[in-house]
């Protein structure tokens, strides 16, 4: 009897273990990073892995769409690589072999948060028909609806409306760090309907703040830690074309930098892209251009020491001042003037090294 009982208990025990073995939901061993979820489970390597955004309950799974990604099996590990990297502070759910697991990538303590490093124009006093701003970020900025995070506030604390040109595709430099913001040209350019009906964006003799809201994100989806604020004063409209006559060149001596005084603050983006130096043999002199003194002075540091001889600074006629006036025309030029005028594409400044 005792043996019989032992046999029955053994059968029940074995059966229980068998059933448990078939349907048990032991947690898989897993690890995760920004670009990969790895499951280490030597007995159940298969592709039945699905990853979801958020903390999803079993009941909700059917109503939720799994994250797109690729699965690879590498020896005894299974890797899931999402189509776009996992986000910081974002909860995720994965289901593997009928087991639900959750994970979250916490932002590292030493995370290098996005910040505004510079703003152009940097001068505190600006013309009312100012056309562009450039925001220099510390690292690549998230482009999705990026212009929604730029605000202009007047001295009374009111947010100005319809200030910038809203572009579906953001204008960002190749390194992802310099954002171009156009002040609504229709309001800055005289006689257009927005200008007639709403007037220019900024009023003379008034103080304003440019604010980059802290909820702007970097490409990792992480926001800035605080708003960036830049205070500036508006003066009268600039309706004078930049002129070659006001450019003064300070020829370098020995291995000095070349300095060009521009006579007024110029547009950051167009100025840095409008200059080129050639020698008497028409060979380009390579080096670094820098704008200083509220973007009114250009400094050129040659890559190699200067050699004696004649040089020319070639200046693209599209070089603009802060109001979009270039070497060939005013931003809102008259129809008849522009039609008749013969324009050249490039201007020259000469200097020599003795």
């Amino acid at each position: 009897m005792h043996n019989k009982f032992k046999s029955i208990v053994s059968v029940i025990f074995i059966s229980f273990y068998f059933v448990l073995g078939m349907f048990s939901q032991t947690s898989p061993r897993f690890s995760f990073g920004k670009t990969r979820l790895t499951i280490t489970d030597e007995f159940n390597l298969s592709n039945n892995l699905k990853v979801y955004r958020g903390q999803i309950s079993e009941e909700e799974l059917d109503r939720t769409h799994p994250i797109l990604g690729t699965i690879q099996i590498d020896e005894l590990e299974l890797h899931f690589t999402p189509l776009v990297p996992f986000g910081w502070n974002q909860e995720y759910t994965f289901i593997y072999n009928n087991t639900i697991e959750y994970f979250t990538l916490e932002i590292p303590e030493a995370y290098n948060y996005l910040a505004v490093e510079a703003i152009y124009p940097s001068a505190k006093s600006l013309p009312s028909n100012l056309l562009k701003w450039y925001v220099q970020f510390s690292h690549p900025v998230n482009e999705v609806h990026v212009y929604d995070y730029i605000r202009f506030i007047n001295n009374q604390g009111d947010t100005l409306s319809r200030t910038t040109l809203s572009l579906e595709n953001a204008l960002i430099s190749e390194d992802g760090k310099l954002l171009t913001v156009w002040i609504e040209p229709g309001r800055q350019k005289r006689d257009l309907i927005p200008n007639k009906q709403l007037g220019p964006v900024f009023e003379n003799d008034a103080m304003y703040q440019l604010i980059v809201l802290k909820n702007i994100k970097d490409r990792q989806g992480v926001s800035m830690q605080k708003d960036f604020t830049h205070l500036f004063k508006i003066t009268y409209a600039d309706r004078i074309q930049p002129s070659m006559g006001s450019f003064k060149i300070l020829p370098p001596e020995n291995n000095d930098d070349l300095v060009i005084f521009l006579g007024e603050s110029m547009d950051y983006g167009s100025t840095l892209n409008s200059m080129k130096i050639i020698n008497a043999e028409k060979q380009e002199i390579y080096g670094e251009w820098q704008l200083t003194n509220n973007e009114s002075t250009l400094i050129f540091t040659p890559k190699h020491p200067w050699k004696k001889g004649q040089y020319q600074v070639l200046i693209d006629s599209r070089l603009e001042d802060l109001a979009g006036n270039n070497l060939n025309r005013l931003f809102d030029s008259g129809v008849s003037i522009l039609d008749k005028k013969q324009l050249c594409d490039e201007y020259k400044l000469e200097f020599s090294i003795k």
């Binding site: 955004r53 776009v84 579906e168 006689d191 892209n273 603009e320």
Partner: protein, 370 residues
């Protein structure tokens, strides 16, 4: 009788050869591989299942061959919570994604959506039975051309520093040419380009300056936000929409490099607004222009009215928000973010509905009737 049969067979073979040659000539310089698309700012279909992608980040236009994608029955297409769906599929939040364009293959009504993710990733989706399927761009038959002119490319090689960048605003294919409008990050101007297709090494590259007279005193060379190549009274024209919101027409044959091209403003569609997309739709023998807007409902304009309007608006609109010029009808579709043709007389939209739902859906042909 035998002669007739032989003639018909020869005719069929000739026709097939011509079609085959036309097909192969368009894709003759296509190669299979990774076109290294970094952004999808604008899309449009050409013939033979060729999808053109405007990639501002890589400063290139890429033509990809999607003719092998099987035809999907999209006759009952309707996807609600489209942004939520995309965010779920990318494991992200809706504020991290942007639908940058939508294109419908006119040959089979397959629908494509391009999405930009905040990480800088561009994704192309195909709509399949009201679901989204990603289209891999890693190994695809393609041909591409640079948007940098040869001088700029040379300069970039030498100096290795940042050059002018510009964002593609709209792109259309017509009669062997890709036309593009865009805006530079350095100068405010009308950048309108025409590039021959198939792309060649000796690229016929035209950068065109297009102006429209802004009320007599000052003229503007603002960038074109959306445009359609079309026929006005039988000759080729471009209908262009600008911010705030003049509608301007240009005779295509007069737009030439180095020529100061000035268009005729035929309508002002109200201030505080910007055109988003424009298409031409034909129904029951009548042609209509549909314009999706940032701050106005979907507009329907009859081509017969456009053609009949011979004037040019030269005086400012005084009444705030008022529209003048060629007449149009507001259709009951607000916040239309994407618009394209669907079939010969239909249209497809991505619309933020009044309840907040972002929906991909068809507009009923009923609206495209007299």
């Amino acid at each position: 009788m035998k002669t007739l049969v032989t003639f018909i067979i020869t005719l069929i073979l000739f026709f097939l050869t011509i079609t085959g040659n036309a097909n192969s000539s368009l894709k003759a310089n296509f190669t299979t591989g990774n076109p290294e698309i970094k952004s999808i700012n604008s899309m449009t279909f050409g013939p033979k299942g060729i999808l053109f992608i405007g990639d501002s980040k890589s400063a290139q236009i890429v033509a990809i061959d999607v003719s092998s994608h099987p035809k999907v029955d999209n006759s009952k297409v309707k996807i609600d919570l489209l942004d939520q769906l995309i965010a779920d599929m990318l494991g992200t939040t809706t504020d991290q994604i942007q639908i940058t364009d939508m294109a419908v293959n006119p040959e089979n009504n397959n629908i494509y959506l391009s999405v930009h993710h905040g990480s800088g990733t561009a994704i192309l989706f195909k709509v399949d039975n009201n679901k989204l399927k990603p289209v891999s761009l890693d190994n695809i038959s393609h041909s591409k051309t640079s948007l940098l002119d040869p001088i700029a490319m040379d300069a970039k090689d030498k100096r290795g520093r940042e050059l002018r960048k510009w964002a593609v605003a709209d792109m259309q294919y017509t009669s062997g040419k890709i036309m593009l409008s865009g805006l530079s990050n350095k100068e405010f101007g009308s950048t309108f380009r025409s590039i021959d297709f198939p792309f060649t090494k000796e690229q016929n590259y035209s950068s065109l300056e297009i102006y429209h007279a802004a009320h007599g005193k000052y003229e503007t060379h603002a960038p074109i936000k959306a445009f359609v190549p079309t026929k006005i009274k039988g000759s080729s024209h471009i209908i262009a929409g600008y911010t705030c919101t003049p509608l301007v027409i240009f005779p295509t044959d007069q737009i030439k490099p180095g020529v100061h091209n000035k268009g005729r403003t035929v309508a002002e569609l109200g201030s505080g607004n910007s055109p988003v997309d424009m298409i031409e739709v034909e129904n029951e023998g009548k042609r209509y222009l549909l314009i999706a807007n940032s701050n106005r409902p979907l507009m329907k304009m009859e081509f017969s009215d456009l053609e009949a309007y011979e004037g040019s608006l030269t005086t400012p609109v005084i009444k705030k928000g008022a529209a003048v010029g060629v007449d149009y009808v507001n259709l009951p579709f607000v916040n239309v973010q994407q618009l394209d043709n669907y079939g010969p007389s239909g249209f497809l939209i991505v619309q933020r509905e009044s309840n907040g739902n972002l929906a991909l859906k068809q507009g009923r042909t009923w609206w495209i009737e007299k």
